[in-house]
């Protein structure tokens, strides 16, 4: 099968009325979430997870994916117009975008952000289509031992590249792995780790935990932040959307570099949209002949990061679709969504579910096209939505999440469990622990255990199989190197720099 045949399959799936509609819904919800500060992408995908359980798997993933990349578009709008980044990924966009808006250049800034995002989205889609098959073939060579090591590497890299303490993040992963063991053992059907609580005997629902850790915890945190309601808009009317020729000339190289940088960082575990937008801003500033313009309305400072975050948001689907390994928390949620639909993620997913994989890939391109239309001419509508105050939004989110959790298994106790994880998530945030690695650990837990046990069974109880098989040994060696590197002081300082860069 060549790439065009695959894309043709995908196109057929993606343009079905149902999937087109879901793609549009995803893009709209994503933009909305991106625009509204205080509601993150992870929380939204978690919120909508229960809603997708009754849908066709392909449509469900198409919609959830749309939320993720749609949020990258929406986030830039508020960054530019009101200096409030709707998403962490557009924090840097606010630096120069808002300055441009103050100087009357809101239109071109918005246009460049959208055009850059669209260009990056197109490139990333092609990249996904081109890289998927070779990567899948590579992944198929993995035995249980190799696959176990690959997942270990994925988890560790996700931690090594993220911000914050490595030790704490590793502890969060292990806690996630431990949570995944609750319920019946897959092989022997022995009930385990439920502490005698009947509701836990079937295991913790992934969606319940995610909603608690990201949905409820985020709300509790926002409530204490005392958001004052001074969301003043820079200007009522945005005049002249079209960027000038000079704007375009200044932005093209930045868009290209941002796209490249974002595409690479998106594929890496733990990369994704946030780090690539920061990295791109830093890069543009370093390369610029007039770095002093940055922070005062340099259009490259909008073009680069906005292209980078969108490219990364999309290429982070590559490890998910080819290897079944989530690069970040949103991808972990998507894996969770697939598993609940009865789809086993992993290297074989492209062979067993070509419709799903290629349908999602093509839908991304369509979704980007929709987003361009949603965001540019309709920008005024989104800005008006900013006036919806958080004091109305948050009870609505609480109730919506509660209904969602309840709908998973018609069990009131699940709502309490989610609430418990909400409190736990709040505590984690208060003590500088990140919940995302926990989610990654929890979603990979069952697969890791299965592969670990199969590998040991196949090697007749020989644990050394993980270091004697060349593929597995190489992966574990990379794990070790990654761990050593993160604790080296020089690298640690660099990591902090990337995140502190203003």
């Amino acid at each position: 099968m060549d790439i065009f045949a695959n894309l043709a399959i995908g196109l057929q799936v993606a343009v079905s009325p149902n999937n087109l509609l879901l793609c549009l819904v995803g893009a709209l919800v994503g933009t909305l979430v991106g625009v509204l500060p205080g509601i993150g992408t992870i929380a939204t995908v978690a919120m909508l997870l229960p809603v997708t359980f009754g849908m066709q798997p392909t449509g469900a993933i198409i919609m959830l994916a749309g939320i993720y990349y749609g949020a990258q578009y929406g986030g830039s709008t508020t960054s530019i117009l009101v200096n409030i980044p709707g998403e962490a990924t557009s924090v840097v966009t606010a630096l120069d975008g808002f300055q441009m808006a103050r100087q009357g250049g809101a239109g071109p800034a918005l246009a460049i952000a959208a055009i850059g995002s669209f260009f990056a989205g197109c490139v990333a889609t092609v990249l996904i289509a081109a890289l998927s098959v070779p990567l899948m073939n590579l992944a198929l060579a993995f035995g249980p031992a190799g696959y176990f090591s690959l997942m270990t590497l994925g988890l560790l890299l996700a931690v090594a590249l993220a911000s914050g303490s490595v030790l704490k993040a590793v502890a969060m992963i292990v806690l996630g792995l431990l949570l995944a063991t609750i319920g019946y053992d897959m092989e022997t059907n022995v009930p385990r780790m439920s502490f005698g609580i009947a509701e836990l005997s079937d295991g913790l629902s992934f969606a319940t935990v995610a909603l608690g850790l990201f949905g409820f915890a985020e709300i509790i945190r926002n409530l204490e932040a005392k958001t004052s309601e001074d969301r003043k808009l820079v200007q009522e009317k945005i005049t002249g959307l079209m960027p000038t020729r000079q704007d375009l000339r200044a932005s093209w190289p930045a868009i290209l570099r941002g796209t490249g940088l974002g595409s690479i960082l998106g594929i890496l575990p733990g990369g994704g949209a946030v780090i690539s937008s920061f990295a791109s801003y830093t890069l543009e500033k370093k390369l610029s002949r007039h770095p002093e313009r940055f922070g005062r309305g340099a259009i490259e400072g909008v073009a680069g990061p906005e292209s980078a975050n969108n490219a990364a948001a999309q290429t982070s689907f590559i490890p998910l679709l080819t290897l079944g390994i989530p690069a970040n928390a949103v991808m972990a949620l998507l894996i969770g969504a697939m598993m609940i639909q009865g789809i086993v993620p992993g290297p074989r997913i492209m062979q067993t579910q070509p419709q799903l994989v290629w349908g999602v890939i093509v839908s991304m391109w369509l979704g980007n096209l929709m987003l361009l239309i949603i965001n540019l001419p309709m920008v005024g509508i989104w800005v008006r939505l900013l006036r919806v105050p958080y004091r109305i939004l948050f009870p609505a989110i609480v109730v919506f999440c509660a209904i969602g959790v309840y709908s998973i298994g018609n069990s009131p106790v699940d709502v309490l469990i989610a609430g418990g994880f909400g409190l736990f998530g709040y505590w984690l945030a208060k003590n500088d622990f990140e919940p995302a690695p926990l989610l990654l650990g929890m979603v990979l837990g069952p697969m890791m255990e299965e592969n670990l046990r199969r590998a040991i069974m196949l090697s007749r109880g020989d644990i050394t199989v993980f270091v004697t098989r060349p593929l597995s040994a190489a992966l574990l060696a990379v794990c070790a190197i990654a761990l050593v590197l993160t604790v080296l002081p020089a690298i640690r300082r660099k990591r902090e720099e990337v995140f502190v860069e203003e």
Binding site: V51, T188, P395, A396, R453
Partner: protein
């Protein structure tokens, strides 16, 4: 977690110190829970092997984080804001108690209003309107859109 323990000088990073303790407690609890599960049998790992390994690793990592809290200076503990926390918790408890007897409509409105107590900025007139709108939206989405078998009205009436 009083201020005096931070000033004593023993605990330099209270977030790490107490975080480590909590993780160790979870690890110890999990280890205890996995004690009776069958372990390695012949060539294969039993259902208890992996949970036991994870528990031990979590215990060790917790100890490591605790140790960092003793050595490296960290941020002080942050006082939790109880109002938001309590109202969200109350809203969820109310929801789980009422959903099966009172039905979706009353429960969602009651939970909405309870959660709204969590913010000092809440204005009651708009909150009432919003709770009605959200309830209508959720009924449409979950019951009619997704076809989930929710009970809408209290049991006696439905």
């Amino acid at each position: 977690m009083s201020a005096s323990s931070e000033q004593a000088g023993l605990i330099k990073g209270p977030r790490e110190f107490f975080g480590g303790i909590v993780l160790m407690a979870i690890g110890a609890g999990a280890l205890w829970e996995s004690r009776n599960l069958p372990g390695i049998q012949g060539f294969s790992l039993g259902p208890g092997t992996v949970p036991t390994i994870y528990s031990v690793v979590l215990l060790l990592l917790g100890a490591g984080i605790l140790a960092i809290g003793l050595v490296r200076k960290g941020s002080p503990l942050d006082r939790p804001s109880l109002r938001g926390l309590a109202c969200i918790a109350a809203s969820l408890i109310l929801f789980s108690l009422c959903i099966q007897s009172l039905g979706l409509i009353l429960t969602s409105m009651a939970s909405f209003l309870t959660a709204a107590l969590g913010s000092a900025e809440t204005r009651w007139k708009e909150t009432m309107v919003a709770s009605v709108l959200l309830t209508a939206f959720c009924c449409l989405l979950f019951v009619y859109g997704l076809g989930l078998p929710f009970q809408l009205l209290p049991k006696i009436m439905g």
